[in-house]
């Protein structure tokens, strides 16, 4: 294991984050604030409590997940797409590093950034709605697990993409719909029985449900199932990245 390489990649990526701090932090915080103003305060005030929790507090876990998912994917996909695009990836290919170093460096940095952002959104949310966290340890676990898993997923998208358009396609066309339909703004118990079954195919349901359980003590699916499903996705992403590096798919000619 080339520890110096992991450190070098991690530092390099974090430097990029801090260089673009305003865009990195300001825009997700702003968009989350808008959600809280519109759904939490303006509309939420006219909605009844769900599972004994006010609507404003109910959407906090979902909104944190929404930002975490999209930011993890965009951070990690951009982080690896950029050197591919500029040509500097030659250095990574000629360096004494394997998939492990590359994943730990790039995904580690992307996940760190997402975690910082997640914390910031929790603080921002507190300004708008008073919420409580029933199971703080589980909350941190879900934050870490989600940031890591979706940074890996983003990393795969960055490896796959061969244009800036493709880089945007998956987050926009797949992840955003799955998040909105994953119960960020509603409990899946509100859906007709048929759609309650269908929605369980959506992996984001498990993430949001798990996070909501950590906050309120009630979720749509069992917390162990939620954690297990997320962990399963993490393993799949890790396997896919290892395969990509072994075969050189989209990387080497």
């Amino acid at each position: 294991m080339n520890v110096y390489a992991i450190k070098a990649i991690y530092r390099f990526e974090m430097a990029r984050t801090f260089r673009t701090l305003t865009q990195s932090i300001a825009s997700p915080v702003l968009s989350t604030s808008l959600y809280f103003i519109v759904f939490g305060s303006a509309i939420g005030g006219r909605m009844g409590a769900i599972d004994g929790v006010s609507y404003g507090a109910f959407i906090v876990p979902g909104l944190v997940m929404l930002s975490l998912l999209s930011e993890s994917i965009s951070n990690a996909s951009f982080g690896i797409y950029l050197p591919k695009w500029s040509g500097t990836i030659y250095e990574l290919h000629s360096a004494p590093v394997g998939p492990a170093e590359v994943i730990l460096g790039y995904v580690g940095a992307a996940a760190s950034k997402s975690l910082m952002l997640g914390a910031l959104i929790l603080v921002t949310a507190r300004v708008f709605v008073p919420y409580q966290v029933e199971h703080p340890v589980w909350m941190v676990l879900f934050l870490v697990l989600t940031s890591t898993t979706f940074s890996m997923f983003g990393f795969i998208i960055g490896l796959w993409a061969d244009s800036f358009q493709k880089l945007q396609t998956i987050p926009l066309m797949v992840v955003t719909p799955l998040t909105f339909l994953g119960g960020a703004f509603y409990s899946i118990k509100m859906l007709p029985p048929f759609w309650q079954k269908v929605t369980l195919v959506n992996p984001v349901v498990y993430l949001i449900s798990g996070m909501r359980w950590a906050f309120t003590g009630t979720g749509d699916v069992d917390v162990v199932v939620s954690a297990g499903a997320t962990f399963g996705f993490l393993i799949i992403c890790g396997a896919v990245i290892t395969y990509i590096f072994k075969t050189g798919w989209r990387l080497k000619t």
Binding site: Y4, F12, Y90, S94, P96
Partner: protein
């Protein structure tokens, strides 16, 4: 001298079906400067990129510094530095940061003294806090060299180091390469300029259409390659050409072939003494294309 890089039966066929390398065998000696000479598209970059791990070979083996580049790629790559042909740089990084990054990536502990030494040697020290995007093309080339030297490699590949580079930087680069050789680094450079190979190399390999045609000591090769022609238009046809010349069919043009180092004056004097009436003279250098044609034909005839 033992071989520091040993290439055996190396083939590369790209997915498009393009055959870039045809069973290349090459031994690179420890501490030498080897120039790979060949026209564009000859396979020089493919060969380098395979050794450095950027392109996967179709078949064949490469041993670098005693390590197989595929099975034991970490150890092999630690020994290798690469300066690519393209000026691919991280536009928003500073010079010092990008060089430190390279050192870490290649598994070396941070060493600011070494980075300083490399940057000073390449006259980049004053620019260390500049963003790379603000540098000129020549300076960016220096940054790429600094990155390649950051982890103290024992084998350095320079892919077309002087393509699009001004005279001053070219001479600096030659000086630097000689300095590296003195410190024990083996240098492999590609070029399509004969003069550059002549100026720099201990040995020269000639590559064309994916085939390594020959590898020879510079002196021996330059004798073969460095031919010039003296073309004499005759005022009066002559019956017979001198020993080192050929006569055109209409007997009006005489072509004399001579080594690059020879001066033309005595040859003309000799023609004069022989009573040859000269209407006009011009000289021609053998172009690289001619040389390749000659080498390929020579190989087929052998």
């Amino acid at each position: 001298m033992s071989a520091i890089v040993s290439i055996k039966g190396l083939n590369k066929t790209y997915a498009s079906g393009f055959v870039a390398l045809k069973s290349v065998d090459l031994e690179i000696k420890r501490g030498e400067i080897l120039a790979l000479l060949g026209p564009n598209g000859a396979g020089k970059t493919t060969l380098i990129n395979i050794v450095c791990g950027i392109v996967k070979p179709t078949s064949g083996t490469v041993i670098a510094d005693g390590h197989d580049i595929q099975r034991d790629y970490r150890r092999a790559r630690e020994a290798i530095g690469l300066v690519p042909q393209e000026l691919s740089t991280d536009a928003f990084e500073t010079v010092a940061a990008t060089v430190r990054f390279s050192r870490g990536l290649f598994g070396k502990k941070r060493d600011d003294a070494h980075v300083e030494k490399v940057l000073k040697a390449l006259t980049l020290w004053d620019k260390r806090d500049n963003k790379i995007m603000t540098l000129s093309g020549g300076m960016k080339r220096r940054v790429l060299i600094a990155k390649a030297l950051s982890h103290e490699p024992t084998i350095l590949f320079l892919d077309e180091p002087t393509a699009g580079v001004d005279v001053e930087l070219r001479h600096d680069m030659w000086k630097m390469v000689r300095g590296l050789r003195e410190s024990g680094v083996t240098v492999i450079l590609t070029t399509h300029y004969i003069e550059e190979a002549q100026e720099m190399a201990d040995r020269i390999g000639v590559i064309n259409k994916g085939e390594l045609l020959l590898v020879e000591e510079k002196a021996a090769l330059m004798k073969k390659l460095g031919k010039r022609k003296l073309i004499v238009e005759l005022a009066e046809p002559i019956a017979e050409a001198p020993a080192n010349g050929t006569l055109s069919n209409d007997k009006k043009t005489l072509t004399l072939t001579f080594d690059a180092g020879t001066t033309v004056g005595p040859m003309l004097g000799e023609l004069n003494r022989a009573g040859v009436q000269i209407a006009d003279v011009r000289t021609e250098e053998t172009s690289l294309e001619d040389i390749f044609v000659g080498l390929v034909h020579g190989k087929e005839a052998a």
